[in-house]
């Protein structure tokens, strides 16, 4: 049982990472990661929706027939996102002003439909919730790393404006990595996003290949 949870966790965070393994949700990934704070905000908002949507879809999985499952999932996800959007706007307006841009984008995040289809429609509620959480955290980590790299090279700062997203207590995160930096505009613009995603993807592949090679090599060495 613990083995299963560990696998879901590993899948979400690394092996089957939304951005770097499933290659899903690239549109929001490239669009909002011009800074680490933006990446973090988008990631956290997506994680919240992902957990709830996975749980809702898992709880109705026996009722939904295969033929109409996609429209049903889409309607459910869109409703959840709209509910989140409205309640944040009404009751946490300051946070909404920072996250508002990202929330509407979550509807078009195919990773959420992807998890509904690939996992939640076949699994029980606790497993689906964990899967949603881990996929969301993997997504958040990816976006924060991409945003951080683009921000450091693009404007010389890291986590700028974090206090707007997380509250004044987190303003210690805001650092100037390269003082007096003139900025490298290309990294902030979309091409920078493509380059950083491409390089990180290549790096993850190399890392995974090395690890796989090691696993094969060890038994051989033991045999000889």
């Amino acid at each position: 049982m613990n083995e299963k949870y560990a696998r879901i966790t590993r899948d979400g965070l690394w092996n089957n990472n939304v951005v770097f393994a499933q290659m899903l949700a690239l549109c929001p990934t490239l669009a909002v990661t011009s800074s680490a704070t933006n990446g973090l905000g988008m990631g956290l908002a997506t994680t919240a929706v992902l957990v709830v949507s996975n749980m809702v879809i898992s709880s109705v999985r026996h009722l939904v027939s295969a033929e109409v499952r996609i429209p049903v999932y889409i309607v459910l996800i869109a409703t959840l996102v709209t509910l989140l959007d409205m309640s944040l706007n009404a009751w946490v307006h300051e946070l909404y002003k920072v996250l508002g841009l990202f929330i509407a984008l979550i509807v078009v995040n195919c990773a959420i439909l992807g998890r509904a289809e690939a996992f939640a429609s076949k699994s029980n509620i606790p497993d689906s919730a964990l899967d949603g959480l881990m996929m969301g955290l993997g997504f958040t980590a990816s976006l924060t790393v991409i945003g951080g790299i683009r921000e450091i090279f693009g404007s010389g700062t890291l986590f700028a404006n974090a206090h707007l997203l997380l509250g004044p207590a987190f303003s210690f995160l805001e650092t100037t990595v390269i003082p007096e930096y003139k900025g490298f505009l290309l990294m902030i613009l979309p091409p920078g996003g493509f380059m950083v995603v491409g390089l990180l993807l290549a790096w993850k592949r190399v890392l995974d290949q090395r690890r796989a090679a090691k696993v094969v090599a060890v038994p051989e060495a033991a045999a000889s």
């Binding site: 011009s34 026996h62 009722l63 939904v64 027939s65 295969a66 033929e67 109409v68 429209p71 049903v72 309607v75 459910l76 869109a78 409703t79 709209t82 509910l83 409205m86 309640s87 706007n89 009404a90 009751w91 307006h93 002003k97 693009g154 404007s155 900025g183 505009l185 902030i188 613009l189």
Partner: protein
Amino acid sequence: MNLEELRGKLSYQGILLGGVALLTSAALAYASRATEADIKAAEAADLKQSLAQVLPGEYDNDLLKDTVTLPGKKGEVLVYRGRRAGKVEAVVYQVVGNGYAGNIVCVMGVSREGKILGVRVIKHTETPGLGDKIEPAKAKWIFDFDGKFLGDPPADKWAVKKDGGVFDQFAGATITPRGVVNAVKGGLEFFDANKPQLLDEAGGVK
């Protein structure tokens, strides 16, 4: 009949889709009603806050309710008026400039003498790092307008330095400040053209 058989039926698909749509619509309608008042209040507070930035000082009326709509060069302009003892002391309205990558929406406050009290950019899509120096958080440039009016500088100097005017442009971005300067100049011309209506002194006729 068990669920397995039921799910295969054609009518089940329709009823399921309809049911899901009905339930979600009901949830949304309920949430919309529950949040409507709070969202409106929060947006009004936001608007008030942005008006206060370009309208320093105290006014004894409710700015959001004392409005007048006048025809401008680019469609109708909604004007908020700040009064003291019934007299209009300052007006606030939006002006739109042509930026490098789309419209730049600014809000500007003008005193009854026609002096600029403040200008803020509220929406733009200019290049980050180049054109976004029009935001007060990035640079002090937008404060250059404070206290200016048509005449100081003279009308032909209401332009960026590259065009022979008095306002700075940014390194690597001329089109953005040019758009803002032209929009603000247009806003002052709008004030001059509609002064009686703006100040609510149109010959005593309301």
